[in-house]
């Protein structure tokens, strides 16, 4: 099946109007030798019922887990029903970027409201309408730091998500920046003395995450002070955005950029995407940050309205001098986040607290197993790292019982001598956790 409405008569009539003999004649500009004289080698077309059956079979080839004990950058939270109903409105999902403001006030106002919610959560003055994901939000904040300071060295905490560090490494390589890691200590937090020694006058930015990859909460204030003393900027990431419901806003602690993965706000796991990168900053960077920004203004009759603004930062105006190349972003995921936050309201705090309690419960329970102990002593949000006798065996048992187990730390952190990272959100009931613990015993 296809979605072309024309009948053969329509086509004939239109060709006649054009003055072309055939459809083929319209492609005369393509040298004949390069025109395909065969059909593409693709599976046979399917009717709607057949495509539905085929997709259902493919989806059923996946196995839905009994429970998910992994976070590590993607978090399973309950999504209120209202979110999918709003995001499923096709006035939103079938629209393009709101360049024609008069018929796009819906999404423009929604973005403006989202920007406001994010600045309030992060303690910043400006937030954009989303980046691709947490990793690219961090990488672009790093590139912007380097470009605006004219410096070429980046210091990234080793406790930042390994994949974020890899993406950062790719962007740094492409721009010729040096990227070095700052170690973590026994608390799981960044080692301040090491940072102090590594910082120099070429350092553009210090990049940390709180909660970091181990779930440990960092104290951003002193890190921002250290960075600022050498003229560098502090990029504060986070793991799960729901943590912002209880944690001190990084902007209040002196972070110049707050970046991270926003998926935890109302977006399904979706096997890794689409998600949304949150990027927020101080007023000082308002005219430099990448991505789309919505501003309030008035129309000819003085009515309040919203437009995409400060577009001279962007590629379609500035081309190679633009802050970033980003064009398409994750607007619909951002809309889901906005509706989620509106729905939770102040209850986000209670939800975040529940995450802390669940994680601490699971941590305590696992710590009671022989040979198991927490790897770090620092305070955690909804994730924690454990040392255990055999992480692979633990995951094997969990997998066999239908659980998505913990994140095996051995590949990314060989220095830990084995370890496993668990996550507990509000989605884990006590009996799920008890069962998981008994499986690992």
């Amino acid at each position: 099946m296809d979605y072309v409405p024309h009948t053969p008569e329509d086509q004939k009539e239109m060709l006649r109007a054009i003055g072309a003999e055939s459809l083929e004649a319209l492609f005369a500009d393509i040298p004949a030798t390069y025109r395909l004289n065969r059909l593409l080698d693709l599976p046979a077309p399917l009717a709607e019922q057949e495509i539905w059956e085929h997709m259902s079979r493919l989806a059923a080839r996946n196995r839905l887990p009994v429970a998910t004990l992994t976070g590590a950058g993607a978090y399973r939270h309950y999504i209120p029903a209202v979110v999918s109903h709003i995001v499923g409105r096709s006035e939103f999902y079938t629209a393009y970027t709101p360049y024609q403001a008069e018929i796009s006030q819906g999404i423009l106002q929604a973005i403006y409201e989202y920007q406001t919610m994010i600045t309030r959560l992060t303690g910043t003055q400006v937030a954009n309408a989303s980046m691709y994901d947490g990793a690219t939000a961090m990488a672009e904040a790093a590139v912007l730091s380097a470009k605006s300071l004219g410096r070429s060295r980046l210091l990234v905490a080793r406790s930042v998500h390994p994949e974020y560090r890899k993406v950062l490494g790719t962007y740094a390589w492409a721009n010729g920046y040096a990227c070095e890691e700052v170690p973590f200590g026994a608390t799981g937090q960044l080692e301040r003395d090491a940072l102090r020694e590594l910082l120099d006058d070429r350092t553009a930015a210090v990049l940390v995450q709180s909660p970091n990859f181990f779930g440990v909460i960092e104290d951003i204030g002193p890190l921002a002070d250290l960075a600022h003393r050498r003229g560098a900027l502090l990029v504060a990431g986070f793991s799960d955005p729901t943590a912002l419901g209880v944690l001190k806003p990084p902007g209040e602690s002196g972070a110049d950029f707050v970046v991270g993965e926003g998926q935890g706000f109302g977006n399904p796991l979706n096997y890794g995407g689409p998600y949304l990168g949150i990027l927020a900053s101080t007023e000082a960077f308002m005219r430099k940050i990448p991505g789309r920004l919505v501003g309030a203004t008035v129309d000819r009759e003085g009515r309040r309205g919203y437009v995409l603004t400060l577009q001279t930062r962007e590629q379609h105006i500035r081309r190679e001098k633009a802050t970033s190349n980003i064009c398409s972003n994750e607007a619909l995921c951002m809309l889901a986040a906005a509706v989620y936050l509106a729905s939770l309201g102040k209850n986000l705090k209670r939800l975040a607290a529940l995450n802390v309690w669940k994680a601490n419960y699971l941590k305590e329970a696992l710590s009671a197993l022989p040979g198991w102990r927490p790897l770090f002593t620092g305070p955690v949000y909804n994730e924690f790292a454990m040392s255990c006798p055999d992480a692979k065996e633990a995951n094997r048992r969990l997998e066999k019982a239908g659980f998505t187990g913990g994140y095996d730390l051995s590949k990314d952190y060989p220095e830990l001598g084995g370890g496993i990272l668990f996550c507990a959100t509000e989605m884990l009931r006590r009996e799920d956790m008890d069962r998981a613990v008994s499986l690992m015993q």
Partner: protein, 480 residues
């Protein structure tokens, strides 16, 4: 319309939090008071008020499902509903990206097969699905170019880009540490071959070419262009943003391109979502496969798994694997259409654009009078000269007729540009209605220019003050 914050009333809430079934310890004890936040300032509303708020916002928004959306270079085709339904299947939405591979065989099969279909459609050896959007795909492609020369031990500083290119091209090149040199267009809207030859030195890493270009014109000299670039050891990059003109008709790989990025949210019908999520897969010829981003799906027997074992890869450009759920929709689309349906896409996209071109040519001046591909570009210069009506006015007046305007003032080399891309999913009646509206506006411009200049008259707000927005930025709501 009131902001959601203005509708907030203390003590209201929509979502409730489940009962706690584990011990509760004060957060001050577990985390420490210094690391905790004070007040949390989010809006407080009942569910019905949230639903009405966003429903009202939805009604102040225009999508493809609302009406015709001939936005040039954006390929605003109809987004099939069965693809949306399929993408909502639990099996696709519920898995964690680090779920055991044994749990995710359906997803991995889908990714593996989708990459294969795209490779066949484009005539490339392999595809990576990791980039999250078209511009992200461009960046990935330019990184692959950089890696290619790094491996050869060559330093090349510059990438060539035609003056018709999308702004993302030079921005992607700059974000990868290259210089940009601009290639002029010739009188017929193609690459100026003489200028290309002059610019294409051993210091040039490659040419980024959009084909068909943003004038909606196929690069007739593509064979010569490829030769000039390749003879100097450069790579030929295809911005596949306009692939809707070519699928099933010709293949960029066969035309001599080494790298291409596709925009699944354009050619492959996934919805634009008010600006995203998109998906920007990158395909390459055999010699560049080692540089594709990791991880990649590999197949052994009937089993699929992730592999990072590609030592020459540029690395990762995104966490996890890309915008997976978008790929589900593109996969369903390709399987629905099959080879014959894919070919019908381009045939009819090109038919529709040429039909509009012919119907409007007596009323608006054509930028280049040639057979066009999937889009046609007019200039509003005639209207400007005759009655002082700008292209922006014509676009705003279209809103009153119930249409989304075309892309305007782009490409930059056409003054007062009006770039119309109807796509293949629109009926003749819709195209006729649109053309009638454009013709009517041309008449209004002559007879009552003030009416056109004062448009739109029927939208929820009138023209907005962009200058004020930029001069006094108000980007988040603060209570005075």
């Amino acid at each position: 319309m009131e902001l959601i914050f203005e509708k907030s009333r203390p003590g209201r809430a929509a979502a409730t939090i489940p009962a706690n079934d584990v011990p509760e310890t004060a957060l001050e004890t577990l985390i420490g008071p210094d690391l905790l936040r004070g007040e949390l300032n989010l809006p407080e509303l009942a569910e019905v008020d949230i639903v009405r708020h966003y429903t009202r916002l939805a009604r102040r928004n225009f999508g493809v499902d609302v009406g015709f959306y001939p936005l040039g270079s954006c390929t605003m085709k109809y987004n099939p509903k069965v693809n949306e339904s399929a993408a909502c299947l639990d099996g696709f939405t519920a898995l964690h990206p680090y779920a055991p591979e044994a749990f995710a065989q359906g997803n991995l099969q889908l990714l593996y097969e989708l990459a294969g279909y795209l490779a066949e459609i484009c005539g490339m050896a392999e595809f990576s699905l990791q980039p999250a959007a078209g511009a992200h795909g461009e960046l990935t492609g330019v990184m692959i170019i950089k890696k290619h020369f790094e491996r050869k031990g060559q330093r090349r500083s510059t990438i060539l880009i035609p003056d018709t290119a999308h702004g993302t091209n030079p921005a992607s090149v700059a974000l990868c540490g290259f210089q940009v040199a601009t290639v002029r267009s010739n009188a017929e809207g193609g690459v100026d071959i003489g200028h290309l030859r002059e610019l294409m030195t051993k210091d040039v890493a490659g040419l980024m070419l959009t084909n068909p270009n943003t004038l909606g014109l196929f690069e007739r000299n593509i064979e010569e262009v490829a030769q000039i670039v390749h003879r100097k050891g450069g790579l030929l990059y295809c911005d596949g943003a306009n692939a809707n003109a070519l699928v099933g008709i010709t293949r960029p790989g066969d035309l001599g391109f080494d790298i291409i990025q596709l925009n699944l949210h354009k050619t492959f019908s996934t919805p634009h979502g008010c600006g995203g999520p998109g998906s920007g897969p990158v395909g390459v010829k055999r010699h560049l496969v080692p540089f594709l981003p990791v991880p990649r799906v590999v197949k052994k027997g009937r089993r699929y798994r992730w592999s990072e074992d590609f030592p020459h890869s540029i690395g990762r450009v995104r966490a996890f694997y890309g915008n997976f759920n978008v790929m589900v929709k593109a996969y369903a689309y390709i399987r629905s259409l099959g080879a014959a349906g894919i070919r019908r896409v381009s045939e009819n996209a090109v038919l529709n654009a040429n039909y509009i071109k012919e119907r409007l040519r007596g009323h608006y001046r054509l930028a280049y009078d040639r057979v066009c591909m999937h889009e046609c570009v007019f200039t509003g210069e005639k209207q400007l000269q005759e009655s002082g009506v700008h292209t922006a006015d014509i676009a705003k007046r279209l809103l009153d007729y119930g249409f989304h305007p075309p892309t305007i003032y782009f490409p930059l080399i056409v003054r007062e540009a009006i770039m119309i891309e109807p796509t293949e999913t629109e009926s003749k009646e819709t195209l006729d209605d649109f053309c009638e509206a454009m013709i009517s506006i041309a008449r209004e411009a002559k007879e009552n220019p003030e009416l056109v200049r004062s448009a739109p008259l029927t939208t929820p707000v009138r023209r907005l003050d962009d200058v004020l927005a930029a001069r006094k930025p108000d980007v988040c709501w603060t209570v005075c």
